[in-house]
Symmetry: D2
């Protein structure tokens, strides 16, 4: 592969485009994580995160990928053999299921077609059946990165409440947090799992648990062995701005800047509106091309990515390779069940109308280049929407 | 003005998009400009520049804007009252003319309509008239940044030769070097003037004179006072990799990387081909919109920028402001005579197909947004050309 | 605290001073971790790491702190209730012990005075007693970051061999790898644990397991639950340059550069020699001040840090605060048992003679400033040694 | 030469150590220099500079080295053949003299021994002799970078006043501004010349003229040809935050941060006090070594650098080479008359006590290494002063 001129278009659904300001912050000299300068920063960051999760509960930061935060959610709250209710909404939900099995839990799996989110009615039914409250937790992926389908978390919460079931509610927001509206407290979530490399506009390497009082109480009796992921020591240290082991200092520098950009400068509501607009514009392009969106229920469309079905007999792998080679554009691949069948367009993170236009242009030209049957006019349809739809307020200018 | 999310599209015809690798190089710790590490770098850079100018003559680097390199060309070779033949091809040719007057030269101006390059026949005629060889230099702007019109330098050289006139030949390549084919030696140019912030993909702050033997000989008798711009001391110091006064160290770090990218990795021929393709795609978009390209002669189209006439009664200023505010895209303005009449699209420097697609999308939406009469389909026309036209080879991958 | 001018002296025993080139590499745009550019880099990095561990076995990279790599070593090889032989050499050995307990292992602890490394004779004796081979692993910290005492790993290996005991041998090299000679294969280590933020000259956020065939075989039957830390999936993915979950892309960029600097440019033997010299110079300073080095056995002196006892009745906490406030120098604190009793001088990572001179000057002035009884001349003693001792070869110059 | 580990000690008297924050600022994406974001920055920077020059007059910024700002001072205010009073205080004063000659001026040179600043009495005497006021300007170098000798500018001003002479007063502050107290308005200076790469803590590439009303008036009638350096157009454009030709955008980003650090965070008085302390500590080290300081008059000691005489028969060139090779420390060389006779220690810019300690340690070890006769104890003498002398306030911490 040859390196091409100009900027790479990183339109996988994460890691996302990291703003230059965040990269420059990460590039700062490493400091003493037991010194006053670090302490001040970590207090600021721990406070800022609460605004993004919309919570008054503590948020734990792990020097780890999102997968680590999945593990932390499980080992802190559950005991070997515990039953947990899980839903086959896609590749990542399946990976979380596999993790639960490996850790010795006993998942109850509700199968799915990878084209819908979790059905709240099924949640209610499953829990209603569980007379003895043997199910200890309900696990949901808010935004399935492999399918571009969201689950309506507020509705799932209501279903749990209707079933009057005491199970913990754990939600993976890895590809939704800071892109799609999410409310840890209002929606009664017990453990929210998140990562740095999507809506938070950072490189990968940090992950998060937002932890309710109920989850903390569960941790007192949970028997899965844990040490690195242990909330207790972490929260005790965090109180004064410290960490029980060496934190990923430089990524935290970046997090401080990213939080400032999202919360203070652009404002979360504008961030969500921006993602909604780009998702709608993308779907209009897909429809204009005559291609099919994987997500079947418009109420479950993802605002952070769109998965598109390749026409029968055409390889998404070859298509993406051609697009990367010729147009310097990375798109997401089809995963496991969807291998070679869908490609995924990431439109989340630090992004704007013209980056989207370039992305869609690359796809439209790529379809042409690789002989994938399609109609022209996808880019036009997107532009037509973008120019006429109302934008959120822009980001406020940063102080020097 | 609010700061918007995502990357800014800097599509003025320079300064251009600076590659991240170049910015990171500039960000290196400043070193002793009298030490061995600096010496090695400056030798490498001085050698590399010759390949870009296609010359065996020395290239002088000034810590200055391109305007400084204009002044250097004049003060090193000419004496007070010298007649120089100049051509009104646009705003920058006019600025150079004004400079010549201020420095006490006596320019002979051939008027122009700002929509054509220099007519070689006129050059021949003017020089043929000058029986006493009172004209000491012919000054040409290779690529008029204000108009998007190029002058065919090889043809002007032939015209000078046909007139058998001994005048020096000085060419401003500020917005063409490393974007449009240019050959200092083959075309018999005596002083080539260039700057860092266009095809060389650097921030502004460096400028260049490439100097023929004939120009060096002229310097021996030239009487305009000079000190900062003096080639003699500069060339004497440069021989060993030194400079007579403090050079702009950190920009030179960037220059080293930029030369590597242009000459070794992508290859100059591929660089030129890339600019040609983007210029042609841009013109197809402009025609599809039903707008008029300022440059009237297709043989003189610029590959680094395209100036577009606004329809009568519409303000390019308002248009560009709207495009900046809404789409985070900077376009070039109309200068002096062309004020509020044309906007300019820069498609030079570190650039690719999808960045161009985003740029044209921003313009097409901007025309819609500000009610400028146009037809749709400009972006489509460009994409149709881009996907079907042959690309040059990509840049070879950089070593780690 | 006020921010002071000039560079901070980060002389804690890690995180260490990160070279500018490494920081700039980390600052690169995040790429697709499923794309060819990433794949090429990860293959290069995985191969380079083997040279640093001196092994032909695979090295696993976790997006985690060193503490995570401790956990990985345990959960991949051991089963609940397994006995492991551990040694109280200092704070970090104790933390590893606590982790083993939490994960359900049954550590046999050999107490220690925090001023010596592991006694090979004790290892032999303890294993010889264990007739039934109930001890499944011997755990050693190569370089105790809390005390500045090393354990002679080759001798411990010989002791295990003399006892003809089949236990796995696991070694923590978090603060020794790439600072002090270490040989995974030659010394018959089964799991080596390491982190990014010390000798590898990176910010914190990556950690490592180097895994012998014997350890891999043990992993087949080990029953501790594991998922994030699971070697099996990791090694399967790594074969082709991939990772089973999102890796910490940008820190890997830095690792690539750091490996190049250590292995190709300076050479590991020169790196070790440099650390030895700086450690010896530091000890001479300490002795000249009339202070006591914590490590009692010269054969066990650490080359990456030196812990110094404060005179009775004087607080190291107040001393370090004063030094930070007045001289912009961070020193390591006394940990748990040693709290307020020792301060630690880090002299590892990207470091040189004059940085050491500045560090020792800060300490000498700090002792004066805070009224700690001492003799002058520590800096002089160090300089005298530095100027007269033989240096290793310097780092070879990097290509541009 | 081999590249050494750790940080380079750049202790030439400029370019100086550039703070990381300034380098990171310079590394920002280049913007449109005709757009609102740039305009806002340039207004801020132009205002901030006035505080550093202590003036209400305008400060002009050239994309050029300091040498360019010398030329600007002359060509804007003088006419061919004008007499100017100059003083041979050192190498740079001599270069300025040569420039004046080349530009067609008629300098009256007062010879000097390179070990003293300008004698105010001589200024008065020379001007008093000039009954016809044929001398148009008095030129002074505030701090001679080649000798480490300052001229007392306030005293020179008084001398001019006593002589009641109308000559313009021009002062080069290239290596003093923002390191040593300087007051453009209070001291009645007409043109102050400065550069970016010394006290302003930037890489080279920007230079400055601070211009009094009297100088502006002189510009109206001055007849030296000028264009690039022309104040008139520059000041007209600057009023609205623009520049008449492309400014060095990225260096201006750095300037904004540097001004913030100097004026708001540390405060100029603290900056001056810091330089005074480091200069005094350096002189104490030099005296302890038994070496001779070039500057003979303590009232004229420079706070930004110290020039040291090598003992007869010893080469400063060999000494500096050894120090660079072995200790990664760059010192300043002896220039022209002083070639191979003095070395210069820069202690200006972004600097602190421990960086100075490292620098002096490198010198003391270098003297030993190269067999230069000296006494030990220079570092000790410096430390003794540093720990007991009162520091200014530190820099206030920057907002995130």
């Amino acid at each position: 592969m040859k390196h091409q001129s100009g900027r790479h278009f990183l339109q996988i659904p994460g890691p996302t485009n990291v703003p230059d300001r965040v990269l420059r912050a990460i590039d700062g000299a490493t400091v003493d994580h037991r010194g006053p300068e670090f302490q001040e920063m970590s207090k600021e960051v721990l406070a800022g995160l609460k605004q993004v999760f919309k919570t008054r509960s503590p948020v734990v930061i792990f020097p780890a990928s999102g997968t680590g935060a999945w593990e932390a959610a499980l080992v802190n709250t559950l005991s070997p053999g515990d039953r947990v209710l899980m839903f086959e909404t896609g590749h990542f939900a399946t990976l979380w299921l596999n993790m639960a099995k490996r850790l010795g839990l006993d998942p109850v799996l509700v199968p799915g077609d990878w084209r819908h989110g979790i059905d709240p009615a099924q949640v209610e039914a499953k829990l209603a059946e569980d007379k003895g409250n043997s199910i200890k937790a309900v696990m949901a992926v808010h935004n399935e990165t492999s399918t571009g389908v969201t689950t309506r978390i507020a509705e799932v919460r209501k279903a749990i409440d209707r079933a009057k079931h005491p199970a913990l509610f754990m939600v993976d927001t890895i590809s939704s947090l800071a892109s799609i509206d999410y409310r840890h407290d209002e929606w009664g979530v017990d453990v929210t799992v998140a990562g740095s490399q999507k809506g938070l506009m950072l490189p990968p390497g940090l992950s998060f648990n937002c932890v309710s009082d109920k989850a903390l109480a569960a941790a007192k009796t949970a028997k899965l062995p844990r040490s690195y992921w242990n909330w207790e020591e972490m929260l005790a240290s965090n109180k004064d701005g410290w960490f029980p082991y060496t934190p990923a200092t430089n990524l935290l520098y970046g997090l401080r800047v990213a939080l400032k950009m999202l919360v203070e400068e652009e404002g979360l509501d504008n961030v969500f509106k921006r993602h909604d607009r780009h998702a709608e514009a993308t779907r209009r392009a897909v429809r204009a091309w005559g291609l099919e969106i994987l997500c079947l229920n418009p109420a479950e469309y993802s605002s952070s990515l769109t998965a598109v079905l390749m026409p029968e007999g055409h390889s998404e792998i070859r298509f993406r390779e051609a697009v990367l080679e010729r147009f310097n554009l990375s798109l997401g691949s089809g995963l496991t069940k969807l291998r070679d069948k869908v490609f995924r367009i990431g439109h989340l993170g630090d992004f704007n109308d013209l980056m989207l236009a370039g992305t869609l242009a690359g796809i439209e030209m790529g379809l042409e280049l690789t002989g994938v049957p399609h109609k022209k006019g996808g880019v036009d349809a997107a532009l037509d929407y973008l120019v006429h739809s109302e934008t959120g307020g822009g980001r406020k200018r940063a102080a020097a």
